[in-house]
Symmetry: C2
Subunit: 428 residues, 2 copies
Amino acid sequence: MSQPLRLGIAGLGTVGAGVVKIVRQKAALLTERSGREITITAVSARTRDKDRGVNLSHYAWEDDPVALATRDDVDVFVELMGGSDGPAKAAVEAALKAGKDVVTANKAMLAHHGQMLAELAEANGAVLRFEAAVAGGIPVIKALTEGLAGNDIQRVMGVMNGTCNYILTRMEDGGLTYEEAFAEADGLGYLEADPTLDVGGIDAGHKLSLLAAIAFGCKVDFDAVELEGIGKVAIDDIRQAADMGYRIKLLGVARMTGRGLEQTMTPCLVPAASPLGQLVGGTNMVVIEGDQVGQIVMRGAGAGEGPTASAVMGDVMDVARGLRVSTFGQAASSLKTCVPARSATPAPYYLRMALIDKPGALAKIATALGDSGVSINRMRQYDHVADAAPVLIVTHKTTRAALEAALEAMTATGVMVTEPVALRIENV
Amino acid sequence: MSQPLRLGIAGLGTVGAGVVKIVRQKAALLTERSGREITITAVSARTRDKDRGVNLSHYAWEDDPVALATRDDVDVFVELMGGSDGPAKAAVEAALKAGKDVVTANKAMLAHHGQMLAELAEANGAVLRFEAAVAGGIPVIKALTEGLAGNDIQRVMGVMNGTCNYILTRMEDGGLTYEEAFAEADGLGYLEADPTLDVGGIDAGHKLSLLAAIAFGCKVDFDAVELEGIGKVAIDDIRQAADMGYRIKLLGVARMTGRGLEQTMTPCLVPAASPLGQLVGGTNMVVIEGDQVGQIVMRGAGAGEGPTASAVMGDVMDVARGLRVSTFGQAASSLKTCVPARSATPAPYYLRMALIDKPGALAKIATALGDSGVSINRMRQYDHVADAAPVLIVTHKTTRAALEAALEAMTATGVMVTEPVALRIENV
């Protein structure tokens, strides 16, 4: 049998403790499957004295994750600290420079520094794996990088922030306002310390940028992701969407077009009967479309101790078995700098607005849309509420540019009481 | 760059031709991803003169697949002939003995000879991969073997025969009888040459036995799979199930119990709103439940040129990248001989019967059930049809043994007009 594989784990929160538990409790199973013993030699965290529900006394303690990452008795540096920069990045860089393999769950770090770190790994003959960074326990990085490697990928989509999906689900099934559902999620501990990461779509955007890099062979370009959070989604939108057979999801879509790479992470309407529309609560879903395979849908828990630790262990087992794949599925030096394209793939849009209570108001809106080349598929006007008439429009397929011109022209008519809500409809 | 990886492909049906197309048309992409050129050196099929929509003139032709498998200029033998024995098995054995890696889509061969072939691969330092053998384009072998390797697997389930699912879907949405739906599927070319492989559950049973071997570290034991085809499912069952919020699927379930390994491939009722219940037409779905990851659901095309060729290419790309995993995820010699257990995990059952039109008939049935310890959850009696009263019973959870005792007692009452239908309800 080969030498044991020795892990150094930095970050002992829920996921870190979960990984320690698996390594301890499943030693025989892991050895049987990988052909070698998997051990932990050293650990590191911010505070040493804290009950993490797991016995750490057998492992060396390092206050400094960089020191941990470069220990002679560590083969794989497991980075579970988080944060795009600071100690996590410093320690990962140190590990890679020392030729150590790295397994991380850190989407923010990879979204911002993925290309640099992939190059560093390559230059030092190390692997850098990150299954746990995207969609929790769903082995989607592996599926996309390896299982579907014979495909030209056409589109990757995902609902990858369980907190947002929880809030949107509660707004629909509990009739809660956004603020009430947000407070409920907060009370349950679902929100990041900075909730903007969740509800602003940033966390999910990080994940999308990593999937896009693999799918299209591009350097990670998180800055090019068009981000829109769920904060503007009103209970009215949830209801109207449901009424028309849709659900609202914070949906990431990446696709390569003739104009360049589109990456959007925005609230969208999806058909209620589609797999994405059926997704409720904190569950994640990733949809991959390839020219050969057609549509592959993967669903599972997007967060939590067990699922995330499962993904970390998947990467650790790969390293133990000697399975070494380039970070983004091809040599880092061969990754292209893809031109970012503002989303311009024509799509139908959902528009909700309130019009002033005067004759001809609706006609002016219809004219503004028509003049901008946006054609109306369905329109509904409801009973006046406080001197304003709620109006709902579903357009035929149109470009984002045409829609924005139309929204400007609509505003210029002076008949809209508030800013209109515009959400893309993604047919999946 | 490494040496080219040279494929020898035996079997040039739809899938074989699809693989040739991908290798030719995506040469640059495959090389970029794997770091080496992937070429085809030789091919083999039953008939040489046949238009397969792809130019084969660049490749050596071998009439004998064994000769192909052992050519010096072949690194990977790609077996796409099918058949559990005969030329496919002979050629795969020859390839492995010659130290060639093998990629195959042949579930029947692996279900019957998987252990022997895995040992042969191991003894010769070769890998034997079979992603395309299970659930078409869904990269489920990889997910289970690698991505979820840190889990104790608790249950694996799957709808893995698209033809059966198509027939059952058409019975429900088209109101067709089994015979009509079967004829429609036949007309569309969906059925195997021997349709029993499909509708008898054998093909899906082969796939289940392969998943079970990986999930539980057991030697493949197809003979222990409890098989029941869909031939006895009547339109009445489809309707009654729908009426109670269920759909009928040919569902495979493998789970390890204290009594041994349960493997069943039988028509089951699943909740209509569950992911399995939502599956319509020829699509496949595999559900994997692990102690860490919870439930992972994977969905995609289960057959067809592109999806199956995609899976074959996933394995080829693994070999090209030097990713070498044991056939069933651990050393062949370490796979256990698992005790097969007749399914005895308690489950609710759906029973449909027709009773003679006499007072006390229903009471006798209820008594027979009660005396066997089977308790009734729901019961419905419908209007008499031709002197017989259709009766529908949903039991509380009971064992298969208790149910069979009850069915015997029910038959002994003499009040049943025909043999009753009993289908397990699998809550997923």
